[in-house]
Amino acid sequence: MRLTLPLAASTGAQTDLLLLGLLAVSLAVLGLVFWLMLVYAIRYRHNSPVDRGALAEKSFRFEISWTVATLVIFFGLFIWGSTIYVRLYQPPANALKVYVVAKQWMWKIEHAGGQREINALHIPVDTPIELIMTSEDVIHDFFVPAFRVKRDVLPGQYETMWFRPDRIGTYHLFCSQFCGTAHSNMIGDVVVMSAQDYAGWLTTSGGGKTLAAQGKGLFIRYGCAGCHLGGGTVRAPSLVGLYGSPVPLSDGSTAIADDRYIRDSIMQPKSQVVASYEPIMPSFANVIGEDDLVRLVAYIHSLAAEKHG
């Protein structure tokens, strides 16, 4: 039985340090409280003859000092925990994107190259990985203890999370939000591989057409092309170069076209209308499933590279 949890992601080192810090503070406080209880219980037991001397009449000074001390320690812990957390949710731009679709009770993983897997995630070591996750039904939670990360996976929404694995091996993947009968079976393996092994895995795991290429087909099939490829009578914005760039909206604000934005543009087009366009795009909610949506988003993503390259 081991009592420590191996760490397999460089992004988790800070969390471990924080846990250690919290443990140290707690042990110190606990030690103090238990020690005083023990000492007083023995020294001031009712039949002990010890001289109780003069009682301190005024307690004000004590109260202020321990309240302030507690506040200071608490504030320190708060700052410490928050800074790591904020960093945990800001993926670097060069992260490798992997799409995750959860449903009762399995994890479906889609790689950019078109490889698909279920209840397993293969990733290269020492590379920042960004997961773009959604659910087809209820709330699930993607939890990899060895990476010290977890994030709820909500239906109708993209949630993202990132980490940088730094140790080759196989680790637990748990669903940690209660999601119905087989919640405890919604588990899998995260396999961290060396760069060569990973390249080998990609080629042997099929794929064939990349996600983006599949998305291109869907773009025509769902009729997006009719409006968005120009030529027609409808005026719709070009999607080339959209991904990652700021979009002026009709209500005067600006949005960054990330995965979540693109998803919302397709599912609830009325919620964010591009400035100077008519809100005529129909909603594709209940029309496009999460799997196809992932492909469309990947395709629109690839259009950005097209422009730059």
Binding site: M1, L30, Y40, Y44, G53, T70, F75, L77, F78, S82
Partner: protein, 541 residues
Amino acid sequence: MSQIVLPQSQISYLSDGVSLRSWLLTTDHKRIAILYMISITFFFFLGGSAAALIRYNLLVPQGMIQSAETYNRLFTMHGIIMVWFFLVPAVPVTIGNFMLPLMLGARDLAFPKLNLISWYLFMAGGACALYALFSGGIDTGWTFYTPLSSNYAQGHVAAVVIGIFISGFSSIATGLNFIVTIHRLRAPGLTWYRLPVFVWSLYSTSVIFVLATPVLAITLILLLFETLFHVGVFDPRLGGDPLLFQHLFWFYSHPAVYIMILPGLGVVSEIIPVFARKELFGYKFVVWASVSIAVIAFFVWGHHMFVSGQSLFASVTFSLLSYFVAVPSAIKVFNWLGTLHKGHIRFDAPMIYAFGFIGLFTMGGLTGLFLAALAADVELHDTYFVVAHFHYIMVGGMVSAYFAALHYWWPKMTGKMYPEMLARAAALLMFLGFNVTFFPQFILGYLGMPRRYHAYPPEFQVLNVLSSAGATILAAAYLMPLVYLTFSLFRGDRAPANPWGGLGLEWQTPSPPFTINFVVTPVVTKGPYEFPKPGIEPSDV
């Protein structure tokens, strides 16, 4: 004040009518408290049996109970019964109901009929929930997260929700009754700063009852509507927002966890001075700590949602506020230690429970600080670490406080002394069993074992077996008071009016008290803990 001499004034409330009717239609707060006590004891052992089955299932990695569905129903039922039908009413509504008027020098609560109605509502809610739990149960967890609960779960979600809804009205009624009573029915001379701390903590608890419960009620109604008609308020497929449910639920349930600790903090603040024969250290700080917990409690609900997808800004704010709400608890712990300093400490059973409370509550609270630290919660959320955290506070803390209160006021309530040595042994056994049960769960959680798992990877087995072994000890320890307290009702020694030498008004009535509590309304001239001080010297400031 009036000095009405009513005919039944000299009769103990226990012998004032013995028919079932005289109990079921009573408006006497003491009898209603006894009704509550019988009901929650039943619910405790019911919830405890579910806990026993949970621990039995987790003995082996693949689960001793064949079907995951049964297991899911078990922990849901365990959570719902323990929270709403045992712990929420345990100290405030049971012990509080009995003691509040006595401690105020009043003859009853402000609205005795409302008090009885409140018990019937509680029982009606309980019956509804029990019906649902036994005719198939529900598998949503006690938190009812949508859209699982509204559109996916099987079972009687609606009936359970209605049960909780009805019992919520019971909470509101009691809270309202307490607040008004504390404002309006204090004996002459009983100024606010002469109130026992227990009364202050009941006051704070009642504020939460009155102001948080209605939000739960409306949330449950929306959930019910969605469940029955499959329209979306919380289900994103139908255009709703699942996080809205979580916000509304925790807006009630976080304050509710303080319902489940404030009265306990009050009980301990009552017992420590009496058994240390010394004035409560920093009375005003302890009092205002209760009140500020009740206020800040309304602003920290988002700390249950750090990984749920709420905004970063919200998470950071809720983390900071969670640390603020922990400060008053720290103040209390330090003041209890200050009270023990230079006291004359006796270790009767209530005091042993109180000591156990301080230790376990502190451990539970400190682990709450882990969870409030954002990055740490990302690792620990929804693992057994959280399970251990709240059992340390709720079972180690509040259930200990309930037993402390029960033993401390048992002589007053029943007029009988319990067997002291057995009581001490039970208290120690509970402390031991508790730690063996729940300490391993901290480690399990840190190692990554998620909660609500019917089956788990084999490497977690050793710690789980340890935990189940502890639960067996704990079960035995909980059965002991059931036996010896019942026994004492028939064979216990007669209790004197004031067995512990307490200074509160409740000790100035005979044990058990008369139906009208006080024949002559007492007049208060000093604070609740002014024990004689040996060798005082005016000290510096």
